[in-house]
Point group: C2
Chain length 337, copies 2
């Protein structure tokens, strides 16, 4: 391995001068700097990250914790991809951990081992106890989504409210009268926020037929089961908390012999790629995962730069109207939320 000492020797300077020359310290003369850079390139010098990290306390590596269950779906891949890409744009690397039901020992140990500059955390339900440990560790942390009941947490989240309002409005326009919902899991902020808009649009909690509210766990299967159960109460539309549940619901409705959207409408959330690939294309809400990743990384960089207090960013989402709720007209149209 070529070290800084090698570069210094070959360019007849000291390690300190070589170091400064390579990072563009203005105190080094043009002539010397050029010489050092030339030698470094010729030798194929690559700074050793471990050594630099030890010396500066900065590694340029971010941690990313993702619930392992998310990795069973495209959503997880998109999230990982978004954060990795965003980090790369700032010359940062990403270390990945999957969180199973409980925080593995590995997460705790490695997270607080000094190699990580900051941490992006995605969690399914708020207030998972191990989160507090991370947030209190002093390491810059940013959550994906508005999770956590704590007021001192930073997050990069999707705006669930605005687009869901647009969605409910669209359903009303389509003349759906008995709208049911398969909401996401209790405690998950995205699920709660989307559901709160559902309640609001239905005229308040006391106006809602409890039989038209089912709780799923964001999985296809839970959507299927919930839809099958909801059918007994005769809804003419089902608002699902995400796309996989909507697709599960579609399958259940088809199995029951219902036509979509004539007999019953269905909507999803997230606009995963498959939502546009099934036989009845799904009305859903699109959001820009890459933007969320970028915001998360930027928040971390700000925090590392010394910004105090929580930093919070919300990225917009937009309603995408497709066949599955369009009974008045066959044309697809898209509306921005």
């Amino acid at each position: 391995m070529v070290t800084l000492a090698d570069v210094a020797r070959m360019s007849a300077t000291s390690r300190s001068t070589a170091s400064r020359a390579l990072k563009g310290d203005p105190r080094i003369s043009e002539e010397t700097a050029d010489r050092v850079r030339l030698v470094a390139k010729a030798l194929g010098y690559r700074p050793n990250v471990a050594a630099r990290t030890l010396a500066t306390g900065r590694s340029g590596i971010f941690g990313l914790i993702v619930p392992s269950s998310l990795m069973d779906d495209v959503y997880g891949a998109q999230l990982v991809s978004a954060v990795t890409t965003a980090a790369g744009e700032h010359d940062g690397g990403v270390m990945l951990w999957l969180s199973h039901d409980r925080p593995s020992r590995a997460i705790r140990e490695t997270v607080s081992n000094g190699i990580i500059d900051g941490l992006v955390v995605s969690i399914l339900a708020q207030n998972e106890p191990w989160i507090d440990e991370l947030l209190d560790s002093g390491l810059p942390c940013v959550l994906i989504g508005r999770h956590s009941s704590r007021t001192d947490t930073s997050y990069a989240a999707i705006d669930n409210i605005t687009a869901t309002r647009a969605l409910m409005e669209h359903l009303r326009d389509q003349g759906y009268m008995r709208v049911a919902t398969i909401r996401g899991p209790i405690g998950n902020t995205d699920a709660e926020e989307r559901h709160s808009v559902f309640i609001e649009a239905m005229g308040g909690a006391d106006q809602i037929d409890a039989n038209l509210v089912a709780v799923g766990d964001f999985s296809y299967e839970s959507g299927y089961d919930a839809a099958a159960a909801l059918l007994r109460h005769g809804p003419d539309c089902i608002v699902a908390g995400n796309d996989p549940m909507a697709m599960g619901a579609l399958a259940a409705l088809r199995a029951a012999g219902l036509r979509i959207p004539e007999d019953i409408g269905v909507s999803g959330w997230d606009d995963v790629r498959d939502a546009n690939r099934i036989d009845v294309r799904l009305t859903t809400v699109h959001h820009d995962m890459a933007a969320v990743g970028r915001e998360a990384v930027e928040i971390l960089l700000k925090q590392m730069g010394g910004v105090q207090g929580p930093i919070r960013r919300t990225v917009p989402a937009s309603l995408v109207i497709r066949e599955s709720t369009l009974r008045t007209s066959g044309n697809e149209k898209e509306a921005k939320a």
Copy 2:
């Protein structure tokens, strides 16, 4: 941050003794070791990875390079998940890079920066030029799949041959006579291997109607387009090189008003979750991605342990027969390849 020096001071020993005590060096007396461990735990001591890496040359971190296009599908998520989990089982962390069309500068630099103990590389086509640079870097490397024309590379691959033979046999049993294929991209080893079995099963290259062979790029869209084109030549079955292409083909066939599997059969490869979720459940080949990840990590560990020469592992895959090719009987059955 609690350092080893703190632990040593509090337990009235030296840094060296504390270090040895914590890693179970037998030369340290039971009494001292216990005392050090107690203090370390009380103080919440966590060894600094950067410092240890610098001293030992081992970081316990593996690199994982995945084509960014894979991250658009579940396949990428599963791969990342498999490798990360496998690494975690050996107390290793994983750093992730996405490779776009060409190797980003970041990959090259960070890969050879000394923080990575070894590298798992997934590539779409063999002989991408930047691969050689990695393979020759001296860093332990393992490829996912039998890619690369070089004979000195290690890999963890799926056995494409055996299961594809079983698939072709099954199709013959079902009485399909004009079997077409949508193969994966030229140069991709999985695609080539699966296609070679197709050719073999059809009785050799000279027996094949060139009109019944289409080339896709593993994407849903390419499957749709290819199937639409193939239809003009009247196939009664389409063998797709992976599941997304099979699902795209299904969509095209439905759009053409064909019944599946009565009018035309369709098979996929990979058994992604969605293959079992569409209205016509897909005959496909299942393989254990987690096993591939485990093999890859074990190969790296062996190489790090000093084993010379390429290490190669192949994990089995099994045929899963579902509705999309079952025209003789409505029952699903599964056959091991």
